[in-house]
């Protein structure tokens, strides 16, 4: 089944979504997800993640472009797609006066090949809440109920819209373990999140969305590698940036100053840090607040938001060196 391992289960091409008022929430994005892969759409609120996922779920028709889920159009060929997908919406959607068990039973009656309701409730740790009304559940318990229902039909493709929002740290870990286990069992998962940690922890590949577009896509390592490492410190009293050794020679690609704080960007972290510390040692000064860190997904995420807003502002406040 090696050939199936590379089958594209989700294919998105030039996808656009425009709302009634003319607001374009998704502005021509393309990506694909392979079978058995966890793909994360990462972005700030309003980046277009949910608008995108709703098109993949087949809740609305795109304004332009193409979506294929398991080889079918999820909107116009829903009967072919729905029995094979599971969906967890961003917000519940359960009658508040039904109990957990009644909700699960109702949903099980609408899902082909449903697993026993008790089994999926146990999977998310809600078995003791079966007799409780939905309105009495905490936010985190509701998220877990939603996840349980998404899993009822043993779906091949799982859409999770912010699955861990509202969960405490432990609940988040449990959800991550469950989603990882599903992936290991062959389920393809597309999730959205604004938690970088979640994307870093779970995703095989991810796309960072910003204002309806995909700014960068790849494995977490690939995305991280697009970003420089950082060194920041406070300039000692009486010193100026010009007193530092020539930064370009230390491999520094750019710097920013904020009061006395200096932030350096570099792609050669060891060389830059060594040069800086050697200089400090020789000059006999202490670099207060010294912080040396490798590139992270967070840097990439913030970097993208910063670049886009700087472009919009029409000017850069930072100094870049020629590479």
């Amino acid at each position: 089944m090696e050939s199936n391992g590379h089958e594209h289960v989700i294919e998105v091409t030039d996808l656009r979504r425009v709302y009634g008022g003319g607001f374009e929430a998704v502005s021509g994005i393309s990506f694909s997800v392979r079978r058995g892969e966890i793909f994360a759409l990462l972005g700030t609120n309003g980046a277009g993640k949910t608008s995108t996922v709703e098109l993949l779920e087949g809740l609305a028709a795109p304004a332009g472009g193409r979506v294929r889920v398991l080889g079918h159009d999820p909107y116009s060929e829903r009967a072919a797609v729905r029995p094979r997908t599971g969906v967890m919406l961003q917000e519940g959607g359960f009658p508040s006066e039904l109990t957990v068990a009644e909700t699960a039973r109702m949903w099980a009656g609408c899902v082909s090949g449903a697993r026993p309701a008790a089994e999926v409730l146990a999977l998310v740790g809600l078995e003791s809440k079966a007799g409780i009304r939905v309105k009495q559940l905490s936010g985190g318990q509701r998220r877990r109920l939603d996840l349980a229902l998404a899993l009822l039909g043993d779906p091949e493709v799982l859409f999770l819209d912010e699955p861990s929002t509202g969960l405490d740290a432990e609940g988040r870990r449990d959800t991550w373990e469950l989603v990882s286990a599903l992936r290991d069992g062959g389920t393809t998962v597309l999730l959205t999140t604004h938690y970088l940690e979640e994307a870093e922890h779970l995703a095989d590949r991810l796309a960072i969305m910003h204002e309806g577009r995909i700014a960068v896509t790849g494995t977490p390592a690939e995305v991280t590698a697009t970003q420089p490492s950082r060194i920041s410190f406070e300039l000692p009293e009486g010193y100026f940036v010009g007193d530092l050794p020539p930064l370009g020679e230390l491999g520094v690609t750019g710097h920013e100053t904020d009061g006395r704080t200096v932030r350096l960007r570099t792609r050669e972290l060891q060389r830059s840090a060594t040069g800086l510390l050697t200089w400090a040692e020789r000059a006999g000064v202490e670099l207060r607040g010294l912080d040396v860190r490798s590139a992270s997904l967070e840097e990439a995420f913030l970097g993208i938001a910063r670049t886009v807003s700087a472009e919009q502002a029409g000017g850069m406040t930072t100094k870049e060196y020629a590479a």
Partner: protein, 267 residues
């Protein structure tokens, strides 16, 4: 992976439209039982209102219109049942399910749109149906109502009434934003029907011009068909006219739902 999930697991038992709607209807029935306000309105009012019709009837010259207490009260009672137990309950149910994002959630699954609406409507429709049968039985016993002369017309009237009230409830829900406004938005149709569709005053006792307009109201053909079913004095063309009016309202309701029904709240 040497085996994929699709290969390893047994073929799933596929759901059918009927099984999906049954599951949904069962949940909706549980919810109806837990919504006290809706339950009182649905079960109590349609049984009480006919009593006031009965007392109003004593002021009227029914014989002139070829009616008696039974053929006046029963169609009216069925009309009240359709309005209170079906139409008004369903406007509330559709709107509240939308507000709770239940409709949106249901749309992510295998249920088709029409199944969602029909399945949600089923408990109220069955309540209305059972209520109408009980009312017919009560009227025969208490008001000496004889057996219907043209039962097929009465059955037809009841069925189109149930379908129409469901369609019009979904259409009304299209223009209702919140559960609170769902208390108000059904009022126009309910009031107009009570006044003009022969629930309190038979159309035969109204001035001709007024009666002609009232015949076009949605609930009038239902009342006409049910009453005709008992009296047996409805001509074929009159029956057909009533049926055409009723079907026109159903189609109008379906059109409005397809055009304007919202599956999730405005944000």
């Amino acid at each position: 992976m040497s085996t994929t999930r699709t290969m390893s697991r047994p073929a799933p038992t596929a759901t059918t439209a009927l099984s999906r709607m049954t599951a949904l209807a069962r949940a909706e029935l549980t919810l109806l039982g837990r919504t006290r306000g809706a339950l009182v309105a649905a079960l109590f009012l349609p049984l009480v209102m006919p009593v006031s019709v009965r007392s109003a009837a004593e002021e009227m010259d029914l014989a002139e219109a070829g009616l008696n207490a039974g053929t006046l009260v029963l169609p009216a009672a069925i009309g009240f049942s359709l309005l209170f137990a079906v139409y008004s309950v369903l406007v509330g149910a559709f709107v509240v399910r939308r507000e709770e994002l239940v409709l949106k959630r249901l749309r992510t699954g295998e249920l088709r749109d029409v199944e969602i609406l029909a399945g949600s409507a089923l408990p109220a429709v069955l309540t209305g149906l059972v209520q109408c049968l009980l009312l017919a039985a009560a009227c025969s016993v208490l008001l000496d109502l004889s057996a219907p002369s043209a039962p097929q017309l009465a059955v037809l009237g009841l069925l189109v009434g149930l379908v129409m009230c469901t369609a019009l409830a979904a259409a009304t829900a299209s223009f209702t934003r919140t559960g609170e406004s769902a208390q108000v938005t059904p009022m126009p149709l309910m009031l107009v029907s009570m006044m003009g569709s022969g629930l309190f005053v038979p159309l035969e006792l109204l001035p001709d011009k007024v009666a002609a307009i009232c015949e076009l109201l949605p609930l009038t053909p239902v009342v006409t068909l049910v009453r005709g079913g008992w009296t047996g004095d409805l001509s074929a063309s009159e029956s057909l006219g009533a049926l055409v009016t009723a079907v026109a309202w159903i189609l109008l309701g379906v059109f409005a739902v397809r055009r304007w029904f919202r599956w999730e709240p405005r944000r």
